[in-house]
C-alpha cells in the first residue's frame, strides 16, 4: 500500500502533507496518473508557499486517484490502497499515522470530503475563490477547491487560516476582505436544514451518523428542521457534465510531447499523441474525457453543456432560498460508511453517482465542513461558523 508519492525527511513541530494534485518544486507531482509519473514542477503552488510562510514544513505528498475524480483514491497508477478489501484513502491514513497537523488536498469530485467522512476525520472545503488554485493540477476549474483535512475542526481552521487569502496569480481569487470573511468566526450556526432528497439512499449506519449529528446540534440549542428541495439532487448530473467537459479540456495538454509519459510506439505525431494517452490514462479518466468531449461538441453544446451551466444557477438559487431561513444544510457525504474494492469493481463509475451528496457544494462553490461522518454546507464565507458548529459533533464519527 502506498500512501505517499513522495516524502521528505523534514522534521518540524508543525508539519502538513499536501496531496498529489498540488505542485511542489522539491517533490514530484503526478496527480495519481502514469501520464505525469515523476513530473517535477518548476514552481510551488501558492498554498505550499503560504503553508511554509506560516511555519509549516511540507512532509510529503499524499497519493490521489487519477486526477482526483474517483471515490477515495482507488484509481491511482500506484495501485488501489485497500485494507482487507476495504478502500482506504492515502491522506486519511497519513493523518491517522500521526505527526502531521493536516493534509491539504484538492477536492475535485468530493474525494477529500468522502475520505474525511468514512474515516471520522474533519475536513473543510472553503468557499470557492478564498484559497488560491495557483499551482494545483487543473481538472474542473469552475468548482474544484483546495481543501483541508485534519483530526479536528480546530486544526482544520488553523491550517485554513494559513492558506486563505487573495492571490493575484489566480484570476478567480476573491478580494482580501472576502477571503478574511471566510476565516472569521463571528457568525454562528443557529438554524440547520436537512434536505430530504439528499438523505435518500443512505445505509443505516450513515443514517445513524446523521441522527447523531442532529441530536448533538439540537442538544446545543441549534434548531434542526427537515425540508424538501429536490433541485439539489439534480446537481450531480450537471456537475458531472461540467466536470467532465473541463477535465477533457484540461488534460488535453498531456500529449507526451513536452513532459510526462511518452509512448515508445509511434511513427508520426498523431500516433505519439494517441498512443501516449492510450497507454498512460486509466479507464475512469478515459470515460470522463469521452463524455466531456461529447458534451462540448457543436451538436451537444446547447443541449447539454449550456443546460448544465443554467442548472448551476438554478442550484445556487435553491441554496439561496434555503439560506434565507437557515444557516446551513446538514447532509450525508456518501451513502455508505465504507466502500470495498468490490464496490468500485462492480461499478466503475461509482464516483459519478455517489457524488450525489458532494456535487451540490462542488457546483456552487459553497463551503462545506465534514465531521462525524456527515457534512454541513453553508452560505459563502461561513466556513468559520461551520467549523465551530462541527465541533459539536466531530467526535460522533469515531
Amino acid at each position: 500500500m502506498k500512501f505517499y508519492t513522495a516524502k521528505t525527511d523534514a522534521a518540524a513541530d508543525r508539519m502538513v502533507v499536501v496531496d498529489d494534485m498540488i505542485l511542489t518544486k522539491e517533490m514530484p507531482t503526478a496527480a495519481g496518473s502514469k501520464m505525469l509519473d515523476g513530473y517535477m514542477s518548476l514552481f510551488d503552488a501558492e498554498v505550499v508557499t503560504r503553508l511554509q510562510q506560516a511555519g509549516y514544513a511540507i512532509g510529503g505528498k499524499a497519493d490521489v486517484g487519477e486526477f482526483a475524480i474517483d471515490m477515495l483514491g482507488e484509481t491511482s497508477y500506484n495501485g488501489t490502497p485497500e485494507a482487507d478489501g476495504t478502500l482506504v484513502n492515502a491522506s486519511a491514513e497519513i493523518l491517522k499515522e500521526g505527526g502531521v497537523t493536516a493534509v491539504v488536498g484538492m477536492d475535485v469530485n468530493g474525494s477529500v470530503r468522502r475520505a474525511a467522512a468514512v474515516n471520522g476525520l474533519v475536513s473543510v472545503k472553503p468557499t470557492y475563490g478564498t484559497v488560491s488554485r495557483y499551482g494545483t493540477i487543473p481538472v474542473a476549474c469552475s468548482g474544484e477547491t483546495v481543501s483541508v483535512m485534519a483530526k479536528s475542526a480546530d486544526e482544520c481552521f488553523e491550517v485554513l487560516k494559513a492558506i486563505a487569502g487573495h492571490d493575484d496569480k489566480d484570476g478567480t481569487s476573491l478580494s482580501e476582505e472576502q477571503c478574511a470573511a471566510a476565516t472569521a468566526q463571528d457568525a454562528k450556526v443557529c438554524r440547520v436544514a436537512i434536505v430530504k432528497s439528499l438523505t435518500d439512499g443512505v445505509d443505516a449506519q450513515t443514517a445513524e451518523k446523521l441522527a447523531a449529528a442532529k441530536a448533538a446540534l439540537s442538544a446545543n440549542g441549534v434548531e434542526v428542521c427537515e425540508i424538501e428541495e429536490t433541485k439539489l439532487s439534480a446537481a450531480r448530473i450537471a456537475w458531472n457534465i461540467l466536470m467532465s467537459a473541463e477535465l477533457c479540456n484540461n488534460v488535453s495538454r498531456y500529449d507526451g510531447v513536452k513532459y510526462g509519459y511518452r509512448s515508445q510506439n509511434f511513427t508520426n505525431i498523431d500516433e505519439l499523441y494517441t498512443n501516449s494517452r492510450t497507454e498512460a490514462f486509466g479507464d475512469l479518466l478515459k470515460t470522463a474525457i469521452l463524455f466531456g468531449s461529447d458534451t462540448l461538441s457543436t451538436e451537444n453544446y446547447m443541449k447539454v453543456y449550456d443546460k448544465a451551466l443554467r442548472m448551476r444557477r438554478v442550484i445556487a438559487e435553491a441554496f439561496d432560498a434555503i439560506f434565507a431561513q437557515y444557516d446551513a444544510v446538514l447532509a450525508p457525504v456518501c451513502a455508505k460508511t465504507a466502500y470495498t474494492t468490490e464496490d468500485v469493481k462492480a461499478d466503475r463509475y461509482l464516483s459519478f453517482t455517489e457524488n450525489l451528496y458532494t456535487a451540490p457544494a462542488s457546483i456552487t462553490g459553497l463551503p462545506t465542513v465534514v465531521a462525524g461522518g456527515v457534512q454541513l454546507i453553508g452560505k459563502a464565507f461561513s466556513e468559520g461558523a461551520l467549523l465551530a458548529a462541527a465541533k459539536l459533533f466531530e467526535k460522533e464519527g469515531e
Binding site: 514552481f43 493540477i137 487543473p138 493575484d168 468531449s293
Partner: protein, 479 residues
Amino acid sequence: MRYETVIGLEVHVELATKSKIFCSCNAKYGAGPNEHVCPACCGMPGMLPVVNKRVVDYGMKAGMMLNCHINRTTTFDKKSYYYPDLPCAYQTTQWFAPVAVNGTVEIETSKGKKSVRIKQIHMEEDAGKLVHDIAEDTTHVDFNRTSVPLIEIVSQPDLSSAEEVEAYLERLKMLLRYAKVAECAMEHGTMRCDVNLSVRPEGSDKLGVRTEMKNMNSIEAIKHAIEYETARHIDAIENGTEVLVQETRRWDDIKGKSFAMRNKETAGDYRYFPDPNVMPVVIDDAWFDSIQASLPELPEEKFARYTEELGLSEYDATQLIKSIALCECFEAAYAVCGNAKDAANWMISEIMSILNKRQMTYDMLSINGTALGELIKLVMDGKVGRANGKKILAAMFEDTTIEPVAYAEANGYVMSNDTGLVEKVVKEVIAAEEKAVADYKGGKEKALMSIFGRCMKELKGNCDPQTLRTILTDTLNKM
C-alpha cells in the same frame, strides 16, 4: 454571364503590448527561440491565466476606431484543437461575448467610397511557431509567440475586389496605427489575413460556395490569390471544370495557385466553452470613458485641421497624415517653433527623405518633436545656418537625447554676429582667391559664388548669408 466576387476578411493583428495576454512574459517579436516563455505560456499544469488589462484597453480602442459597439461585459472562451505549437491544446479566445461588435470601416477606391461592415473584433492568444529543419528531418517548436495578444477583426462579406480588399487593409492598418494598438506589419507577421471568397451571378442575392484561404501575409499575395480564386470559381461554374466545395485552401505564392487543405466534413470541432479561470471582464463607465478619451484624431480630421487652421497645402497635409508618428512630431515641433509651414517643410523635405533613404517606415521615427521645434526655431531666428541645422538633425537621428541648443553651441554651429570677424575672413579669402577676384572684377558674376562659398566655409557656416553677401560685395566693389 457577369459575375461578382463576394469577399469577407478575418484579419489577425498582434497587439503592441509589452507583455503577453495571460502572463508577464515579453511579447516582443525577435528574441532567440523560447527566450520569452514561462510555465504559463508553455502550458505547464498549475498556471492560471490572469488577463493583461492593457490587452482589453487595446481591444476596446481598436473597436472604437472601427465604430464598433463595445460589449461592457466581455468573456473569454476555450477553443480546443491539437497542434504542436499550441501547448495547452486549447486556445483562449472570445467566442460568446467578444469585446467589440457591429462596426464599420470606410474605404475609398477608384469606384468611390464604400462602407465595410465589421461583424466583430475578438481578443485571443497567438500560438507558437514550428520551425522545420529539413536537413535534420525534425521540427522544433518556438513558444515565444504563444500567448502574444491578438485581435481578430471579422468583416461582413462586403468586399468585392482585390482593390477593395487592399483599400480595406490599408485603412485598418492606418486606424490601428493611429490608435497605437498595433504595428500591423504583414512582413513581420503582426498582421495576417484569412480570405473568405465566393462568386455569384451579378445581381443575385444568393451566396455561392465559399472557400477560405488562411494566413495570407502580403497584400500582393492576397490580390493575386483573389484573382486566381475568382477565376477558378467562375471556371467551375461556367465550364464545370470542378465541383466547388466549402473548404479551407492554402495559397502557394510561388506556384500562383491555391490548394485544398481540408473540407467541411474533415474540419475539427473546436468545442468552445467559457473559460472558468478567466472571470468576465466588466468594462465600467470610467474605464470606457478613459479609453474613449484616449482616441486619436482621425487622419481626415488632421488633414482638415492642417489645411484649414494651420494653412498647410493639401500636398503637405497629405504627406504628414501618412503616419501618426509624423503627425505627432510635426505637431510638437509646430508647438515650439510656431511656424507650421516651416515645420512641415522640415518634416517632408528633411525627415521623410532621411527615413526613405534609410528604408525606415514613417512609424519608426523616433525624433523628439519638441527638440525638432527648437532646432527649427534656431534656424528661423538666424541663430543656426540651415546647412548646420541639417547636420544637427542628422545627429539627432543617431542620438535622440540631443538638445539642439546645447548641441549647436558645443559643436560651434552658432551664428556669429561679429561683423568684424566676417570682414576679417572676407579680406583673407579675397587675398587668397586672386584669380576668382580678378574674374569677378572682369565681369564674371559666377566667380562671386566661389568666393562666397569659401568665406562661408571659413566661417563654418555660422553667418547669415545676407550679411556675408553684403560685406563681401561691398568689400569687392571698394577694391
